[in-house]
Amino acid sequence: MADEHTTVSAEEVATMLRRAGLELNPEDFAALIDALPHVEAKARLVRDRISRGDEPASTYSVEQVD
């Protein structure tokens, strides 16, 4: 997944998939390339709105909240 400074090329996606051990047929690879910009945008939206001083990660449960 790209960070805010980079755009991932199809070749780089192929490399990442190999590292993940996942082989895709050409149709699924094209579909992934189509979907990734949307997913990257979501990742950026999460990253951009959270900072070092915010709550630490924790296992979520409503009991803890309430």
């Binding site: 997944m1 996606v13 990442m16 998939l17 993940a20 051990g21 996942l22 082989e23 895709l24 047929n25 149709e27 699924d28 579909a31 992934l32 189509d34 979907a35 990734l36 949307h38 997913v39 945008a41 979501k42 990742a43 939206l45 999460v46 990253r47 709105r49 959270i50 915010d54 709550e55 630490p56 990660a57 924790s58 979520y60 449960s61 409503v62 009991e63 909240v65 309430d66």
Partner: protein, 465 residues
């Protein structure tokens, strides 16, 4: 009894059964007949357990005749989404991957409904593994919307919503990770309740996202949802997310009186964040006026934009879902449908740090929600952006590009119910959500029930079959 037993609600049927004026066997037969007539059109069921249902109904009838009435769900026919394990019954998630999967044990919710004496009619269709969306490459044809069979029922609990709306089950269970109970409930004009995260055990349910999965009732009325929730709620040590919180008498909370309740209206979800159709917006104004007329104190409130909840949900859900099916996606990708593969594969590339940041973000959003709910008894917002789309208009990319209007309450974990709040000129349901404080399903249901009682929408049924 008359010929329309399949139109009875749980409230009505349970009164008759308790008084021994209605036979559970007769009631079960009515639903099996209805299935035979309408399911070839609606495609709600993947598996019908007719023989076992009739045997269970016979047992219920004998128990009740012997004075051993167990309560409101005794003798009530129900069906469940096919991602919920039932011992000895094929449980597939509508995926070729699991087409021969026969669990040895019941899910916790099935154990509870069996203990309550309810009658299982069968397993209901769904989007593949509660995530895929309708597509032609799944083992069974996609369910149709009973109000207009050229339209989708929504998903992922598509069969559950269509079955309840079409009178093919008195009630059903669905699962909801980002809105999969509430969205199809909205499109099909039924009640869909996502209780608080941890309220209903997920043990024995095929996982989608451990952090976000819920299981909940889908019924014709709010009172029925309260009864069914009462039967399935409660602590279960077998689900690590299960909350050890007392279970209220949800049905007893339905007083019909909401005078003085403070209700926040989350208008920006459907007016600004992803503007709903003019008809939805106009209809919401009428619904809000009804709530005000019942004596509730309404005030506009702001939450974060829907996009923020949707982004948080996606960055948690995608890697969790991918993790569940990684081994199979590598070894046998052809076992999954094209839409599921499209939606799950990006999960392989989500960075660990993005997943962690999303979990941190979820904590912040949940804390904000808790603070907001310190000022209100309930929130209301639309349940849909527009009426159910036609089958041709389904977009696989929509999962990535359009935030679901249900997602905020998935991420924050609070209870939320979708109810019918009217119909378009062409007879398709509108829907409204009522949400509330963690573990205060009673107030959410009280508001929804008061609205339902004050409006005529439950008198209208689809004309299918």
């Amino acid at each position: 009894m008359g010929t329309d037993l399949h139109l009875l609600t749980i409230s009505e049927a349970s009164r008759l059964i308790a008084a021994r004026e209605l036979s559970p066997v007769e009631l079960t037969r009515a639903f099996l007949d209805r299935m035979e007539a309408a399911d070839p059109v609606l495609h709600c069921y993947l598996t019908c357990t007719a023989a076992a249902a009739l045997a269970a109904a016979q047992r219920a009838e004998e128990e009740i005749a012997a004075g051993a009435y167990r309560g409101a769900m005794h003798g009530i026919p129900y069906a469940v989404k096919d991602n919920i394990d039932c011992a000895g019954i094929r449980t597939t998630g509508n995926s070729r991957l699991l087409v021969d999967n026969v669990p040895k044990a019941d899910a916790a919710v099935i154990e509870k409904l069996e203990a309550a004496g309810a009658i299982l009619l069968g397993k209901l269709s769904c989007d593949e593994l509660a995530h895929g969306g309708p597509s032609d490459d799944l083992p069974w044809p996609a369910p149709r919307n009973p109000w207009d069979t050229s339209r989708i029922p929504g998903g992922s609990s598509s069969g559950s919503a269509a079955a309840v709306a079409g009178g093919l089950a008195m009630c059903a269970l669905g699962t909801d990770t980002g809105g999969s109970v509430r969205s199809p409930a909205g499109y099909c004009g039924v009640v869909g309740l996502k209780a608080t995260y941890g309220r209903v055990s997920r043990r024995g349910i095929i996982p989608n996202s451990f952090s976000l999965d819920h299981c909940g009732p889908m019924t014709w009325t709010v009172a029925d949802a309260a009864m069914m929730l009462g039967a399935v709620a409660g602590f279960d040590a077998g689900d690590p997310s299960s909350a050890d919180v007392p279970v209220a008498d949800f049905a007893a909370a339905l007083s019909g009186d909401i005078r003085g309740l403070r209700i926040g209206v989350v208008r920006h979800f459907y007016e600004d964040d992803l503007p709903a159709s003019p008809a939805v917006r106009a209809n919401m104004e009428v619904a809000l006026a009804t709530l005000a007329g019942l004596g509730a104190e309404l005030e506009d409130v702001r939450m974060r934009p829907l996009d923020e909840y949707a982004a948080c949900k996606m960055m948690i859900q995608m890697p969790e879902l991918y993790a569940v099916f990684e081994e199979d996606l590598k070894a046998r990708p052809e076992s999954f449908g094209e839409v599921f593969r499209y939606r799950v594969t990006p999960g392989a590339l989500v960075r660990g740090v993005d997943y962690v940041q999303a979990q941190r973000k979820r904590r912040l959003l949940a804390d904000e929600y808790r603070d907001l709910m310190g000022r209100y008894d309930a929130l209301v917002t639309s349940g849909i952006y527009g009426p159910a789309p036609t089958t041709q208009r389904f977009e696989r990319k929509g999962k990535f590009t359009k935030p679901s209007i249900t997602v905020a309450f998935s991420v924050t974990g609070g209870p939320a119910v979708s109810i019918c709040n009217g119909f378009t000129d062409s007879g398709l349901p509108f829907a409204m959500q009522v949400a509330g404080k963690a573990f205060d399903e009673a107030t959410v249901l009280r508001v929804a029930d008061a609205y339902e009682r004050a409006t005529p929408w439950r008198a209208r049924r689809p004309a299918v079959a």
